[in-house]
């Protein structure tokens, strides 16, 4: 398990409003209680709905976003969940993506993309499995054949968003601290 107060380190230009915090992390505590860890069952990080991140988000554990992210999200070996309040304007790379909120940008998943009722994706999806629930919104293309990460020949990827410059803000989700 890792120290949640060190989980996200904005280097510069962080647009996170003052007072915002990750959902699972009270501002006054330095690390989650053992009970909280046990309750979660596995490593899942929540980004609260008041958090706004512009830049690149990398991680090595499952992540739930209820806030706003603009730029690029890479969770190549983990599950990314966009909560009902989450608003993403980013290129997303993940093992699996579950969308209950809004995603505006291209998505590449090595296992599965799931857009649930009320979820919305505007962008192109590359994933071997795609599940779109009734009541979900989707606009874009679905490519279930190509291996993830390979570019589409003769076709430019749709510039769904204007990604924020990486140098401006580089937000990294740190590796779990070894116990």
């Amino acid at each position: 398990m890792w120290k949640r107060d060190e989980a996200v380190k904005p280097t510069s230009g962080q647009s996170t409003p003052p007072g915002s915090a990750f959902q699972s992390q009270p501002a006054s505590t330095s690390a989650p209680s053992p009970e909280a860890r046990q309750q979660s069952g596995r490593d899942v990080v929540n980004i609260g709905k008041s958090v706004v991140i512009k830049g690149e988000l990398n991680g090595s554990e499952d992540l739930t976003i209820e806030g706003q992210v603009e730029g690029k999200i890479e969770l190549k070996d983990h599950v990314l969940t966009i909560g009902a309040n989450g608003k993403i304007k980013a290129h997303v790379f993940a093992k699996s993506l579950i969308v209950l909120g809004e995603v505006n940008g291209n998505v590449t998943a090595s296992e599965k993309v799931e857009i649930r009722d009320g979820g919305s994706v505007d962008g192109d999806i590359i994933s071997p499995r795609v599940a779109i629930a009734e009541g979900a919104h989707f606009r874009g293309s679905v490519d279930m054949q190509r291996k993830s990460g390979q570019p589409v020949q003769g076709q430019q990827p749709r510039p769904a968003t204007q990604p924020a410059p990486q140098a401006q803000t580089a937000v990294q989700i740190a590796q779990p601290v070894a116990r």
Binding site: D122, V130, E134, G140, S141, V142
Partner: protein
Amino acid sequence: MAFSDLFARLRKDEDDADAGADSPAQPTKVLARFLAGLGTRQQPVLLDLGPVVGSNVTFFGEEVGCKILVEDLSKDIDRHVSQAKVGDLPAFFDTRFPQESESIDGILCWDIFDYLERAAAERLSRQLTRVLRPDGVLLAFFSTADPRSAIRPSYTRHVVIDRDHLRYRPYKAARAKQRPLLNRDIQRLLEPLRITENVLLKTNLREVLFRKPAAASVAPSAAPQADR
């Protein structure tokens, strides 16, 4: 029972009726031909103009091996109706499709033409014939019934069960179907595409399969900017 509960129950009943989950499977004579017409390309590109249906994405993506582009035109029509800008639809269609010319192997129009007036239908068909590659196929359904018989306007989700069966799932629309097109109007509407199958079902639905002749290829031009 409180009024709020009563209204909530009524609303739920309406929603259930919209979903049409238990509607019977309807035979389709043309879908199998459409799929065969996609040819032997390794990954044909399919343009779906209907609302997104998860099981269709799975069917076309996994079973048929297509790359699917979803462009739900019913939402565009509803938006224009709600903004009282139906007259802008023809011009809207001119810039609606960002796809390059002759880049699509198959187009699923479903019954979208039923909801368009002549001018808008013509502009839409012009764009569809532009993006369809030579020898590509286009599937469209045309109602032959009087649209005034409908109690309330509805679109239809066409859920693919298998190559020979569909399930129609109606849902609420802001616009009713327009006057049905005659056979010759359908033929002219999508020229230079050629009709290869034309089947009138017992449900008063006409299933039509078009193919773009190789000689009718449009000179490639830069796709207009999409209004995204």
